[in-house]
Amino acid sequence: ETTKIDFWFGNTGDIAKRVQEQCDRFNKSQSDYEVVCTSQGSYDASLQNTIAAFRAGKQPTIAQVSDAGTLDIMLSGAFYPANKLMADMGYNVDWNDYFSGIKSYYATSKGDMYSFPFNSSTPLLYWNKDAFAKIGKDHAPATWEEAAEDFKALKAAGYACPLGFNISRDEIWQYGEQFMAVHGEPIATKRNGYEGLDAELVFNKGLWVKYIKDLKGWYDNGEAVLKSKETGQTFVEAFAAGDCQVILTSVGDHGNIGRTAKPGMNWGVAMLPVYAGTERKHSFVGGASLWVLSGKSDAEYKGAAAFFNFIAKPEEALEWSTVTGYIPVRNSGYDYLVKEGFYEKAPYAGRELAIKSLTASPADDAKSYPGIRLGGLLQIRQEMANGLQAIFINNADVQTSLDEAAARGNQILRRFEQTYKGKQLP
C-alpha cells in the first residue's frame, strides 16, 4: 500500500517539468510512497493556496515557499521543522553540510534549519568577453570603480548598453539586497531582522545610497540602460542578444543565456563586484525552500522525509544542476559535481562562482549578515523599487527617495510586528 503525499510548488515552464521528473524518479525509486507534485502557477499562488488549504485543514504535506514568505511561515507554527522531522523519522542529516549562505538564510537565529533549501541560486555578474576584448580587457570588473571605467570604455567603444539593468520589484534582489549582502551592509537593524520583529530599515543610510547615485550617474551618461519587459527586451535577453555587455542576474539564468545567446558570442560570469576597500561577504541565497506542514499523518511525514532524503543525494544534485540553472546546496553535492567534472564542461563552467559567492565569508562571521528576516519583504521590495523608479524615471533626489522608501517600508514592518504581537522569532 503506497502512501500519497502532496507537494505543491510554484515553478512553471521547463522548471516545473524538471520538478515533475524529479518526483517521478523518486516514485520509481521505491514503492512505499507516491509524491504528487503540482505546479501552482507561481510562488505567490503556491503560497496562497497552501495557506488557504492549511486554514481549511486540507494542506499538502510539502509546500515550496519562496525566500520572501519565509518569515510568515516561521511565525505561523503551521509546519513541522525540517530538522525535527528528519530526526523523528530516523534520518541523520549533517546540517552543516549546507553552504553557509544558504543555511543561515533558512535557519533560525539559533541555527536550526526549519526548511529544506530546494531550488537555490545567487546572482553573478555576466560579461561579454568579446566586448571587453574590444576595450582591451580579458577579465570582468571586480570592483564597482573598475566597472565604472569599463562602462565608460565600452560606451566609448560604441556599445549602446554597457550595463543593462532594471529597477522593478523583482530586481531589488540583485541590485539591492545582494549588494548589501556582499558589502556586509545591513538592510535593517537587528541583524536584518533576525533578532527581533522590531527591526528598522536602514538601507537608506549606508553604502547603497552611493551605489544608487553611481548607477544613476551611469544611467544619465548612457552607460547603464534600462532594459525590461516594458521596453520590449529584458536585460537578460539584451545580454544574450549581445546588446548589453554586462548584467547582474541569477546563476539560474546561466543555462538560458547559454541556450539563447547569439551564436558565437563569448561570455563569462564573475562574482558581484564590490566597492574598493570593502571586504567581500557571502551573498544571499535566492529561490525557495521546502516546508513540511503540520497536521499530517506519520506515514505522510515518513514519505516526506524519504523524499527529502532522496533529493539530497549527490546524484540528484548533479541531475538538478544539469537540467536547471540552480546550484547544489550542500558541500557534498558540490564536491560530487566537481568530481564528476561538471564545472569543466562548456555550458556549466562558471557556475561554481555562485558557490564561491555564497561561501565568501563563513556563516559565523559577525560582520556578514545571515540573510533577511523581514515581514512583508515583498512589499518592502516594492517600496524600494518605487523609490528607485522615482529616482531613475522622475529624477527624484536619491537620498530623499530612499528615505521615503525606508519610511514606508518601516510602516510595513510595524504593521507586521503588530500582527504578530507577542510572538517570538525562533
Partner: protein, 304 residues
C-alpha cells in the same frame, strides 16, 4: 429594405476591417510565436515571418501539459459554469422582474453586490467554505445555540459536512455565484412587451410555464451572448480551479497553460507556451464561432 449607401458602407467596411485587424494582431503574434524555435522567439524584435517549429511546439506543449484529459475537463467545467450561470441568472432575474414581493429590489442589490469583490480578494475564506460547503450553516447553528440544544435533547452532535475540494461541484458552484447574468437578464426582461406575458397568462400559463415557454426562447440572443462570454470567462479561470483541484484527474487546461509559462529562471521557451496557448484558445474560439451562427435577429416583433 433597399439600402444604397456606398459611402457609408465603405466607411463601415473600413472601420470593421480595421477592427478585425486590431482584434487579430495579438492572435497573429501568438501564432507566429508558436512557430519559432526558442532562440528566434527570444530575439528582439521577434521576426514576424513564421518559423517552422509549429508542430514540434504543439506536440511539446500537448505532451507536457497532458492536454488530452485537461481539455476535456475544461470543456466540461466551462460548459457547466456557463450553463449554470445562464440558467440560474435567468431564474433569479425572472423573480426580480416578474414578481412583486417585498424586498425584491433588496434581493437584486444583494445579488448585484457580488460583482464588487473579486474572487482573488476572498479566496482564502472561500476555499474554507469549499472544503465544507455546509460550514456556514454549521456556524449559524452553533452560534444560535441550536447545535447545543439538539445535542442536549437528542444526544446527537450536529455536524454538517459537504466537502467540495477535488470535485466538479467545487470547481463549478463558486464561479456560478455572481451577478453579471442576473443583471443582463433583468435588463432584457424589462424590454419584453407586457402583452406577451398577458397573452400567456390568458392562455393559462403560470409563472413557471411562462418562464420556460416564453422568456427562455425569447432571450435566446442574450442567452447565447451570455453563454459565450461565460464559457470563455470560465475557460480562462485558473486561480480557483488550481486551488480546489489538487487531483490531476480534475485539472483543467488553463492551469496547465500557466504551468507552461516560463518561470523566472527557467528556460524562456515562449514558443512552447504560445503553442499551448494556441491549443487552449481553440475551444473558446470554436464556441464563439458556433454561437454566432445561432444569433437570430429580431425574435421580438419583426413586424410589418
Amino acid at each position: 429594405m433597399v439600402e444604397r449607401t456606398p459611402v457609408f458602407d465603405a466607411i463601415c467596411q473600413a472601420i470593421l476591417f480595421l477592427g478585425l485587424l486590431i482584434a487579430l494582431v495579438p492572435f497573429a503574434i501568438v501564432i507566429i510565436a508558436a512557430t519559432h524555435d526558442i532562440r528566434t522567439v527570444n530575439t528582439v524584435p521577434m521576426p514576424l515571418v513564421p518559423g517552422r517549429d509549429l508542430f514540434a511546439n504543439l506536440a511539446e506543449a500537448w505532451q507536457r501539459a497532458d492536454l488530452g484529459v485537461k481539455l476535456f475537463n475544461s470543456v466540461l467545467f466551462a460548459t457547466a459554469v456557463a450553463c449554470g450561470k445562464v440558467i440560474l441568472s435567468a431564474m433569479a432575474a425572472f423573480s426580480i422582474v416578474y414578481f412583486r414581493f417585498p424586498g425584491r429590489s433588496a434581493l437584486f442589490w444583494a445579488i448585484f453586490v457580488t460583482l464588487m469583490l473579486p474572487l482573488e480578494v476572498r479566496i482564502v475564506p472561500t476555499y474554507a467554505v469549499a472544503a465544507n460547503a455546509l460550514a456556514p450553516f454549521q456556524a449559524i447553528l452553533d452560534t444560535t445555540g441550536i447545535t447545543w440544544l439538539v445535542q442536549r435533547v437528542s444526544g446527537i452532535e450536529v455536524k454538517l459536512e459537504w466537502g467540495l475540494l477535488n470535485s466538479y461541484p467545487g470547481l463549478i458552484l463558486p464561479l456560478v455565484a455572481t451577478a453579471t447574468g442576473t443583471f443582463l437578464y433583468r435588463q432584457f426582461y424589462l424590454t419584453i412587451p407586457d402583452e406577451l406575458a398577458e397573452a400567456a397568462k390568458m392562455d393559462g400559463s403560470g409563472p413557471v410555464r411562462f418562464f420556460v415557454d416564453m422568456l427562455l426562447p425569447l432571450s435566446r440572443p442574450n442567452m447565447i451572448a451570455l453563454f459565450t462570454i461565460m464559457f470563455v470567462w470560465s475557460w480562462n479561470q485558473y486561480l480557483w480551479p488550481l486551488l480546489v483541484t489538487t487531483d490531476p484527474k480534475f485539472g483543467i487546461a488553463v492551469t496547465e497553460l500557466r504551468a507552461l509559462i516560463p518561470s523566472e529562471f527557467g528556460l524562456p521557451d515562449w514558443n512552447v507556451a504560445m503553442a499551448g496557448t494556441l491549443i487552449i484558445m481553440l475551444p473558446p474560439l470554436i464556441v464563439v464561432i458556433l454561437m454566432q451562427r445561432w444569433f437570430v435577429r429580431g425574435l421580438i416583433s419583426t413586424e410589418k
